[in-house]
Assembly symmetry: C2
Homo-oligomer: 521 residues x 2
């Protein structure tokens, strides 16, 4: 057995058997070991940002890390933006980064760089296995570390000579630990604060927004010890939120700070569970960073990674939670008609989303109406852009589809966002993933045109700066998708999109639908 | 004047007026200041690796830095791989990275990250302008630092509030300094070592490979004080090499270590100028890292960044250099016929390359024969992949074409390599750059299939591992290029490529030619 084989076998013990790879020469022994292993899924990505985003999507859906296989420092860097998103999502994720042989490092060959320094900002754990005997044990340690809590990226650097040298040492199996319990006194304090409040808010994030958390949170809305009903709110961009018919739909923290401030006006108590306190996405001249109103008492009941289910249960016990009347599922909305826009797309999603669909959201300005319109759709999971680094939507869909082959994945993408990691389309086609890709083609960085005004830079309503426009040339999305192996269609009306989307939902396999929008969103 | 305007005006003083940008909200004041400035070229890239690679190409051709405009840590990370290449090329380059407002950093908003830590591995200078008054002076300092010597990346972090706040402070003009002179004793020692050698090699890198350096180096080949003719060799992957008819053609250090070792057999003295000693690109089991033979005396005459022209001149004086007979330009080779392959492509380039063309080389396995076959073509510059991070070829071509609008740029790309930064095609189309893109479509990571055998992992001649193959689906390159706005053609024979290439050389503007190759290299 060589070091590469020890790595693969140790990770198999840990339940890590899915690799999103963009390998190079220094990883050839790893690739070779993986190719010989039967129970491994080795998925080629043509760009590292696809590999890391896919591992994030996999980890969000499975709770077990997928591994990336990256080529030295530059390979890691190419994956860095989606690792930033994964860090903010607190996803368990394992990066395996090949390096030069240990004795070769000092010669500063062209691909030599400080991999550990590059990995540090996004990794909760970084180590280099400088001997073959260390690979197995460090692989176990990396998996353990990826679980946190809270979860995150662990980066194991594997020099080529460690991979090719002999060893007989395997690492132990590593399994996901439970999050630390929340102190009973903290639960009491939070309960007391909420009970006494005139306008209380429970702000949920992370694991609270999975099905189990929402079920408990629903009992708190009209809990008997409260003075007034409790408003349940969610992070703006959750890693994974259970949504749809029969599930509690928290009101989402607004993205635009001025809207969030207005929305929270008068709130006197806010208790956060599995989330930090709400903060403006960006700073703007003359506006506060914190979204909670001045004078509002903000209490953290449970940090991300803590046992939030216990915390919410404890809160429900103390506040004497009640069963919330189940929302009657409204009939599906009628066929949208006329001009195609994000609202009509949202209506079509509400009509045709299959049970247990997964939505990967990188739709930027187009997503909000879709989010709002799908709260009564069939039960589904919504995966948001956690770290603000656009270019997550397609890779995340790859990972979610690999993790959950029995579930339909819908990938929502702004045209600007999709271009960052467009190589993901090829992997979707290659792996025959059950992903329906939707591209909102408005030929503009619409969010930036809005932000230009909001930052006070361009409040005159002047036309879009050329540097924010994508219309010269306008990208031909159907051709682009077809060039990378996908079946494509382009829609110009609400009716045609509804038909195309309905058909995609009934048909397995990769498909791309272009939503052609006017540039002025 | 706000901080953003102070930045733009200071950089104008320094001669920095070209920006490759992929901005976000935190850069809106910078974008707005740039859009108001007349003498600025602001070029939108749809992915940051395009912006950084383009700035590298610009800096290699102009010797003055271009600026990138990047969005926080993830934007920097996306540009990191091509900044690695720029670092290895020692290109003067200025990164401007927008950050949250200083007071917003502590709240850990979604896009918050440690930008300085991310920038450190590739930057010779990183500072944050935390007040508007600091922007101008730090911008000057950054430009000065980018020149080195040796040159490299300087990264200026600009928090949003520094950009939007008022200031009256500009930085001073910064100009490129001369490299430090080489000590006379070092020149004497190198001359003595070469004069006494039985099989001497002069190993050139960096600035030595520009026209002026090669002219002096040519005088050394048959210098009177030498015992035997001096073999002039070059780095395998120079940042920029002047080549073609009438210019010295050093023999290139071989890429594959075993070939380099054989090629250097018996060399007893090697003097390096503007380069470090030759090192194997990768380590292989049982092979040395250093390429110079055991017992060979390796002397550094001048490190990269030193005044190599003076060093070479001094050497020529001491060794009594002679004028090398000019190579008679051979007649252009005849029309290649039959199957299309890298050799016939090389012949077509030799036939039709216009005077002062620029070649951006990311052709991986397809490039070597082209390099060899073009040594007597019309005078041109060859820009190699300096840091081994593939995905440089298209962005570098963008930057070279912006820097030298009067020169034809040819971009050679392996299909695997092209996919990393494929978004560059859009910028080529948008800016109407005079770039002919050539894609070698062999549907495989051919270099990895070779390396798999060379690392001893797969010496059985087994068929390519699926994870190294790009043929399912096979990328339709013509459709891909057309989708991003380029005129495309696909060639299957040597004759059709010759005709297509000849036509492209006579026609200004963007064009893409697909070289369809069989998958077995």
């Amino acid at each position: 057995m060589n070091g590469a084989e020890a790595l693969v076998q140790t990770l198999a013990r840990c339940g890590v058997n899915t690799y999103f790879a963009n390998p190079g020469t220094s990883e050839m022994h790893l690739v070779s070991a993986l190719a010989r292993e039967r129970d491994v899924r080795l998925i080629l990505c043509l760009f590292e940002g696809v590999a890391t985003g896919a591992a994030d999507g996999y980890g969000r859906m499975r709770g077990v890390p997928a591994a990336t296989l990256l080529h030295l420092g530059p390979g890691y860097a190419n994956g860095g933006a989606n690792l930033h998103n994964a860090r903010k999502a607190m996803t368990p994720l394992l990066n395996i980064v090949g390096d030069h042989a240990t004795y070769h490092r000092r010669f500063d060959a062209p691909l030599t760089s400080d991999i550990a320094a590059w990995a540090a900002p996004n990794s909760r754990w970084v180590k280099s296995a400088d001997k073959a005997d260390e690979i197995g044990p460090l692989a176990s340690e990396a998996v353990t570390s990826s679980y946190g809590p809270p979860g995150g990226c662990a980066t194991l650097i594997v020099p080529a000579d460690s991979a090719w040298s002999s060893t007989s040492v395997l690492g132990h199996a590593s399994i996901r630990p439970n999050g630390p319990s929340v102190d009973a006194a903290a639960v009491s304090a939070a309960a007391a604060a909420l009970a006494a409040a005139a306008k209380p808010v429970l702000f949920l994030g992370g694991e609270c927004l999975r099905e189990a958390g929402l079920q408990i949170a629903a009992r708190l809305v009209n809990a008997r010890r409260l003075r007034t009903p409790l408003r349940i709110m969610s992070e703006t961009f959750p890693a994974r939120q259970a949504r749809g018919s029969g599930r509690l739909a928290p009101s989402r923290m607004m993205y635009f700070a001025e809207q969030a401030l207005a929305d929270l006006d008068g709130v006197d108590v806010m208790v956060t569970v599995g989330a930090s306190e709400p903060i403006a996405f960006f700073a703007y001249p003359g506006r506060p960073s914190r979204l909670a109103p001045e004078g509002c008492r903000v209490t953290s009941l449970a940090q991300p990674g803590a046992n939030v289910i216990d915390a919410l249960s404890g809160l429900s016990d103390l506040l004497e939670g009640t069963t919330l009347a189940e929302r009657a599922a409204p009939p599906p909305p009628p066929l949208p008609q006329g001009a195609l826009n994000p609202k009509t797309v949202g209506i079509s999603l509400a009509r045709h989303l299959p049970n247990q669909a997964i939505i990967s959201d990188d739709g930027v300005t187009s997503s909000l109406p879709i989010y709002l319109l799908t709260s009564d759709a069939q039960p589904h999971d919504w995966l948001a852009l956690t770290g603000g680094a656009i270019g997550q939507g397609l890779p995340l869909a790859v990972g979610a589809a690999v993790a959950c082959p029995e579930r339909k994945v819908i990938s929502l993408n702004g045209d600007g966002a999709a271009m960052y990691t467009i190589q993901a389309l090829w992997t979707i086609a290659r792996e025959r993933l059950d992903v329906t890709v939707i591209i909102f083609a408005n030929d503009i960085y619409a969010i930036l045109q809005i932000e230009l005004a909001r930052t006070g830079t361009n409040s005159s309503g002047a036309p879009a700066l050329p540097v924010l426009r994508l219309d010269d040339p306008s990208i031909n999305w159907s051709k682009l998708g077809e060039s990378l192996g996908l079946r494509c269609s382009e829609c110009l009306t609400a009716e045609s999109f509804d038909a195309a989307f309905a058909h995609a939902m009934q048909t397995a396999g990769p498909e791309l639908i272009v939503v052609r929008l006017p540039p002025s969103v």
